[in-house]
């Protein structure tokens, strides 16, 4: 099985368990990330957002065909958001990595008895969280997170704005991921492994 994506540069689907780093200006990667993690039939989407309120994320996912019952949000923007029919977990800081992992586990806790679930996981963005944590910590967190995505046969998309960091930080973070999507104004170009 794989995760199908529409109009996503040179990629049409990603293999189970793959994590993708999406780089570019955050206004563009925010949109492209939601394109990539919008759930198809029988899939779920969990979006961890550090820069856009949960309400907007849900609206944007609905615009891309999602039903509310398919969606779960971890909102780290410190906004109080309640959305009917969508579990929204709020955290006070994008740097609260333990909180993110705990809420992620709780969002899936109710489903695990039904066996494996098809899920897309979006994280927008790594850049914001990096302002609150050390590079070393973020690198380790991403490794553990992508390992969880791999063991669960999910599909992970993590966005990052390279202009917000030095080149070395960008190059270090990209080493965690199977594939990278460079998002430009008019095109998306995917490189690496785990996609077709």
């Amino acid at each position: 099985m794989s995760y199908r994506v529409d109009e996503f540069g040179n990629a049409t689907s990603f293999d189970d368990g793959v994590s993708l780093l999406m780089t570019g200006d955050s206004t563009m990667t925010n949109q492209r990330l939601l394109d990539a993690v919008a759930p198809k039939n029988d899939e779920r989407s969990v979006v961890i957002t550090t820069n856009t309120g949960a309400g907007t994320v849900v609206k944007e996912l609905e615009r891309r065909g999602a039903d509310r019952e398919q969606v779960g949000i971890i909102d780290c923007t410190n906004a109080d958001s309640e959305i009917e029919g969508v579990p929204v977990r709020t955290l006070s800081s994008p740097g609260d990595l333990t909180g993110i992992s705990l809420e992620f586990a709780k969002l899936f806790d109710q489903d695990t008895e039904e066996g494996s679930i098809r899920a897309r996981v979006g994280f927008a963005s790594v850049s914001t969280s990096l302002m609150y944590t050390e590079l070393r910590t973020m690198f380790r967190f991403l490794h553990v997170f992508t390992a969880r995505i791999r063991s669960g046969d999910m599909f992970g998309v993590f966005s990052m704005d390279p202009t917000m960091h030095d080149e070395k930080a960008h190059n270090t973070i990209r080493a965690v991921f199977d594939a990278e999507a460079e998002v430009g104004e008019n095109e998306t170009s995917v490189s690496g492994t785990g996609f077709e």
Binding site: L97, T98, E134
Partner: protein, 204 residues
């Protein structure tokens, strides 16, 4: 963490003599087993060689929670499984334990838990090496043009080793579940907080 051919070391802290004997019987073929009948005795056994501690939560004298605090201070790399009479939820992980077992503990369950905790340590070890090499590679990439690196033998050797470690990392915890995930992230943040404590001007 596992040195050479040496077996991993497990410290069993339990006040019921009969249970200690039972656990030792189950574990002694695969691990070096140390035992302590209480918290105070456990502290005397502490060393960097200990990979996993099996810790009874409710003991007379020093409680399991207090012993845990000492372990985190003195052997931060060590994995700790709490043995408890009641089924806990995710809170056990935020309390600082890495895993838990509910009494009565079955043999299979005990062995499986210890193996899982050792795999987590192994994951950490590989990840640590991967970080060192990835930083090195990132520094090279930032300082030299791509054409030059493509022809550089040291750089391709670095890339080869990184790929190898990535494969190892991907196969170390194939059955990683949410408990593993949460506990490992908590450990990462815990270690980060500790290292900042030692460093003036560190974050928070």
């Amino acid at each position: 963490m596992v040195d050479g051919d040496d077996q991993p070391t497990v410290l069993v802290v339990e006040d019921e003599r009969a249970l200690i004997e039972l656990y030792v019987r189950w574990l002694e073929d695969d691990y070096t087993v140390l035992t302590a009948a209480g918290g105070e005795e456990a502290l005397e056994q502490f060393s960097e060689d200990i990979d996993v501690v099996l810790l009874d939560r409710l003991m007379p004298g020093m409680s399991g929670d207090e012993v845990l605090e000492e372990i985190r201070e003195r052997i931060p790399d060590c994995e700790v499984a709490m043995v408890t009479a009641v089924e806990p939820d995710f809170d056990v992980i935020t309390m600082g334990f890495d895993d838990y077992l509910t009494k009565p503990v079955e043999r299979e369950e005990l062995l499986e838990t210890i193996e899982r905790l050792l795999s987590r340590s192994q994951f950490d070890d590989i990840e640590q090496e991967l970080y060192a090499l990835s930083s090195k590679q990132a520094a090279l990439r930032s300082s030299k043009p791509k054409e030059e690196l493509d022809e550089n033998e040291e750089f391709s050797e670095l890339q080869r080793r990184i790929d190898e470690l990535r494969d190892e990392l991907n196969t170390t915890l194939p059955g990683m579940d949410d408990d593993d995930f949460v506990a490992m992230v908590r450990d990462i943040e815990g270690e980060e907080a500790d290292s900042n404590d030692d460093m003036p001007g560190g974050l928070e």
